[in-house]
Amino acid sequence: MDILIENGVFVERIKGRDPIVINAERKVILPGGVDLHSHFAGSKVTLGRLLRPEEHRLRHQFGNSGNHIGTGWATPTPFLCGYLYSKLGYAKIVEPAVPPLKARHTHEEMRGIPYMDKMSLLLLGNSWIIMDLIAQKRLKLLEKYVLWVLWASKTYGIKLVAPGSGEAWAWGKSITHIDDEIPNFSITPKDIIYNLARVNKEIGLKTPVHLHTNNLGSPGNYQTTIDSLKTVENLGLRDGDSPFIIHLVHAQFSSYKGDSWKTFSSGSEEVAAYINSNSHVSFDLGQIIFSNTTTMTADGAWQYNLYRLTGGKWINNDVENETASGIVPYTFKRKNYVNAIQWAVGLELALLVKDPWKLAVTTDHPNGGVFTSYPVIIAWLMNKKFRERTIEKINSKAKHIIILPSIDREYTLFETVIVTRSAPARIMGVKDGATIGIGKEANLAIYDLGDPERDLGENPVKLIKGLSSANYNIKNGLIVMKNGVPVQDFNGVTYYSGGVNESEELTELVDYYFKEYYTVEKENYIVQKGEVMHPVNVLEEVFK
């Protein structure tokens, strides 16, 4: 069977002469991968690079073969990041935490990432403007403002990080329940989740609201997670490719039981049962890998707690009236009781949720581990024996508590393709970019996984080796990577949403906040199209 590509799309018949022929006999051909949650660009990644020069000694790339140099393990420099993703066979990546004020910085970095199509999600969960509008019940204006701020920052969707908790933490308080009132705003995290999910549906964004739950990482947080998901149950499903109303990011960090670190245990059964019985939720794993990494999130309160556990170096950052963030280096250890359970929770979630279309494989790069470890997760999912081999090495107390050993399910190759490609592409609303079909974008990765007639999960070492380095990565019909070596320069597009709404009410609102609270002018705040690499708006530009 032949797959024909011309002018960047799959075609039935080629018109041009002398096409390039690739012999992919006995190889595995997959659509280009989609990573819907990976912190690869932006101001906090740069701060992470500054905080941890030692991490950059772990991986070097010298510019010998005409490519750019780069360094970094958990926070690779932009060029290296593009090369590494391309080597893995990926085509589209999503930066899931952009503070509106730092959008320009993020785009500057994303311009430097070759080969990939990029999307970014805007942090709105702690924004004063959003919280004020919800408190004042000006919900029509909220829709207009969300569209405007997405357009102004050239970002793709909405991300809520522990709604309200960053704001409370800035006042030295903490929010432990989604019904707690946020200081000075007389609303609760629940209001933010509900209203933004509703706005998201009304204005027709291509992807659901991405939710990083409150109490993330704390023992006993699975109840908060389920409560947060229940909040939006009655909104119904969305139209379009992605029917989900809410996307639970790095679900592993939100599915714990117990009341302290000593009684810490897995809440994956409850969360998976909720997701199985409801159709409005999609999620990604946030699987941890036993290694050293640099954790970074907009959840400043949680990062402060993590710093108190590790006692090492850390950074916390407050982005004016918009959001906060924190960076803490961390090592996940096999012999650590909590880490061992965290490792099991991620895999349990992936194996207990029946519909692979609801989930995407991620490590919440770099929080759970680096994205180059994805093949290892695939091997764990596809091979029970390989899981058992890792279970043998983990903390002995944790070994007897986790339910992972009792799960017999093994993913088929087809299911792994769904969880690394089709499902994330569908959740992000870019399904056409990860489909092999006539007229669709020609993104392909060709892998050598050994004898395709045999069960590919049988030999995990070979599987990991094969998936770690694609023989070919074809992006928009061009061969960009060959056996892990860059072949030619190519820059993908940057998708964004939003539009300008010509309304006096909105102008008045925005001008007021810029005059009273921001340190920058509105004109300098708006990211111009020229600052974005190949911008593509997926919505209408101007609304009436």
């Binding site: 905080l51 941890r52 020069p53 030692e54 000694r57 010298f62 510019g63 010998n64």
Partner: protein, 259 residues
């Protein structure tokens, strides 16, 4: 024992020779050795471009000794990550000599530049003249410097000797610069002459012996006296504990506190 003699032809610019190490050479043939990667500027060269390579007793067995003749400060990263064997450097050696070293021995018949023995965890480095800054230190960002092994300097060293040192021993026969044993966690540093200002600053553990004078911070409290014999001479050392800024348990034994 197989012995390789490398004669440096000289080069105006720094050359990265991280491949000069018995662990890399092992049982490679002379032809293979000639093709080993060497970097300078933004280009990659081969070992034969910069060195005349000679072999003594070409028997098929692992390389035991490497001798570098005409060495200068431009040869960087000699013996990086080596874990066995012996390197003799005739002349000066550049930065990062024996960095990340795990075992074996390096002898330098001359001086070395900065970062000598940085983050090493075993083995022995013997320097017959002076050493630069950051001897046995940690690289920027890492939390631990030298973790094991011994560094002996017959001459003097500059600043930040033994920074964040976490094990092993450093012996300096002549003077040291400032910030000796900065953030030191464990291990022992002996300076047989004097040291500069901020000695043992932010020290958390380990021992610093100074047979001359040094300036120490206010975070150190005197706890007693120590009598030792060094090269036939009897010395009385004042023992200080600190640095209290870090609630440290480090010990500085010093003959004379300079103000």
């Amino acid at each position: 024992m197989r012995k390789i003699i490398l004669t440096f032809k000289g080069h105006g610019r720094p050359v990265l020779v991280y491949n000069i190490s018995p662990s890399v050479f092992r049982s490679k043939s002379l032809d293979q050795l000639k093709k080993l990667e060497v970097k300078s500027g933004n280009k990659t060269y081969q070992l034969k471009d910069f060195f005349i390579i000679e072999e003594e007793e070409p028997v098929i067995e692992p390389v035991e000794t490497i001798i570098i003749e005409n060495s200068t400060f431009n040869l960087k990263r000699i013996g990086e990550k080596m874990d066995t064997g012996r390197i003799v450097v005739n002349g000066d050696a550049g930065m990062h000599l024996g960095a990340y070293m795990k075992g074996g021995e390096i002898i330098v018949n001359g001086s070395v530049d900065d970062w000598c023995g940085a983050e090493m965890s075993g083995g022995m480095i013997n320097i017959l003249e002076n050493a630069g800054n950051f001897l046995g230190a940690n690289y920027i960002g890492s939390l631990e410097g030298m973790r094991g092994g011994v560094i002996k300097v017959e001459g003097s060293t500059k600043d930040f000797t033994g920074m964040r040192m976490a094990g092993g021993a450093i012996i300096v026969k002549r003077n040291c610069g400032s910030f000796l044993g900065y953030y030191m966690v464990n291990g022992e540093i002996t300076v047989e002459a004097s040291s500069g200002s901020e000695t043992g600053s932010r020290m958390r553990g380990g021992v610093i012996n100074i047979y001359g004078s040094a300036e120490i911070g206010v975070g150190f409290k005197k706890v007693g006296l120590n009598y030792i014999t060094s090269e036939g001479k009897k010395l009385t050392l004042h023992v200080f504990r600190g640095d209290s800024i870090e609630s440290g348990e480090g010990e500085i034994r010093i003959r004379e506190v300079s103000k």
